[in-house]
Symmetry: none
Subunit: 193 residues, 4 copies
DNA sequence: TATGAATGAGTCTTCATTCAT
DNA sequence: GATGAATGAAGACTCATTCAT
């Protein structure tokens, strides 16, 4: 009764429940597949509640994607923090990436957002930015080309993790990053080897 | 009249037209967004034809995905042929990957299928198989780990190319592959630790 | 069975039935009050048929209004014919107007279209044109001012007939028109003649 | 705070604000198009207030129409006063009608009520009464027939003014009324027959 | 009493699928 | 076999009305 009563008159919580349900469903079935009915059922609210809080399904979608984006931004901030403390070495990054992928939830969120970015210009810009930020960790030490390649590889691991339903071994990631990045402070296109 | 007569007499061609239209549309608008009406319009056949040749929309979808899959398999066969002749060196693979990505059409098809694979178990199995085949080119020479990492990187390039609307430079791909694969004939686990 | 079978596959008849039902309902409940469901029920067709034949409710509304407009144009043509033969005398016009108003159906259609014209610029233009045509019958003989006033009076009779559920007596109409029009060939504002 | 406090303490004012907003909106968008939300926004009161003061939307509509009716009754009273002083001559009436139509606001209100009367029996009765009152001004002097015709003409001017977005010239109205009414003190049926 | 959150009925619209022709 | 008309289920969205607070 407390729950029911509370839910009934806690608009902020209800809004969060709806957005959360939408975000979950976007991850599960895709950004275009969600419906008011699905979201209402998942959030355990009546159908009308979904339109009460969001004028259009697009608005709801946008809000849900925003929370997914926020999650990724948070991840990125954590990465930044770890890198700031321990340096952007292959071992450090490999650990972060592996752990991130091991968290199925966040890995799937990453994938969902990137997939949604296919047809959403705004999300595409964000995805591009994330890719740049990732590359940014390596640029100073390893040059633009290798940094970009490392970011590309890390993005690739998201899809591989999805295919395998399991993250790549940290060891494999580390090995690959080490190979891609080469020795610190190399020329972008190496002359001496 | 010739056209009409022809079509009437060539059900196989009509079926191909429908499947082809569906495949195009899947790439353009996504696997879930196609409708009988869209396909009929694109294939320039009457609405009824789409249900005449395929009992359900899902059947049509499946057939269309099958042709996209076949395209990818063909690509893979070409890769295999090139590799058989020139070896699976970073330079060779980088060229193939770059050229494949530069062909927007095939790059989009790749992406569409991988995206569709998110929620289609059969396609997922295929995607896994492609990843394995890709890795297979390198396993003998470089060991399982590095081979897998190389495949992961190549998959990553598909998404990066989509984000940038341009393929990665062949040079960057080659550099990365060279780094990932390291020296030929290494142990799966690296010697020194 | 013949009826059912026929209706089932006589698109033109079905379309007419739908438009006719919509027109009836517009007259009865107003242009903004019609719904697909009302029209479908009145036309005795399934709900889907109304959207099969008209992409949007607005399209259906427009088609229905078009038939009402056509009815009025036809009326106007008849008036023109009668006037051409017998002249635009008060007696002749009074007879026409009275008979038109006595036909409740057409009187209500007039009223419905004029009412719909309140918020539909296209219909407003038409209503203006009708008013002009009506005035046109008298202009040559009686000058612009009196002609316009006669048209205004005739329009007024539509509303009075609606209020009274009965047309004004032809005698009253004739008397009023005669008074409004005065003697033939008057000056509108006379200076020279 | 003053405003809020005031409103809180003056339910009657709030009720008036709601009814006034509803009346405005009826004139603007039609009697059937108003919603609680629209009225609340226009009256600048919370949504709940609209249902607090009126059990149903129909009740609110009725109240709003009542104020519009009152406005018209007031107009009619003014007409009566002017007529009592200056007589119901064509010139006097023409001036009144023209000025009334020139006041777009009141002309639109007239039109809105007449339109609403189409499907509201109560309003229809009122409209009938106004028509009678209008005719009443002329009956004693000019007989029933001519008086009715004059009222019909005046009603016609409302619609013409709406079509033209401008009132008829007072001169035209006067001319028409003079013609319709003929000489004072005629028999209902004209003398010669 | 005043507020606005809550709910579901009803609206337009799309479309897979069926089936008469 | 080929066509497109037919149908209803389902989706997005609006809003009158109720009622907790």
């Amino acid at each position: 009764m407390v729950d029911a009563a509370r839910r009934r008159r806690d608009p902020e919580a209800r809004r969060r429940a709806i957005v959360g349900a939408a975000a979950e469903l976007i991850v599960e079935v895709g950004v275009d597949a969600i419906t008011h009915r699905m979201v209402a059922a998942r959030a355990d609210v009546p159908l009308g509640a979904t339109t009460q809080y969001f004028d259009t399904l697009d608005d709801l979608r946008a809000a849900a994607l925003k929370t997914l984006v926020a999650q990724i931004d948070e991840q990125m901030a954590e990465v930044r923090a770890v890198v700031a403390e321990h340096g952007a070495t292959p071992a450090v990054l490999a650990r972060i990436v592996h752990d991130g992928l091991a968290d199925a939830k966040s890995a799937e969120a990453d994938r969902a957002v990137v997939t949604a970015a296919i047809s959403d210009p705004q999300l595409r810009a964000l995805a591009r930015r994330w890719s740049s930020q990732l590359a940014g960790f390596f640029e100073a030490e390893h040059g633009d080309d290798r940094a970009l390649a490392a970011a590309v590889f890390i993005n690739g691991t998201i899809w591989q993790a999805h295919l395998d339903d399991a993250p790549l071994p940290a060891r494999t990631i580390e090995l690959a990053l080490a190979g891609i990045l080469g020795d610190p402070h190399p020329q972008t296109d190496s002359t001496t080897d």
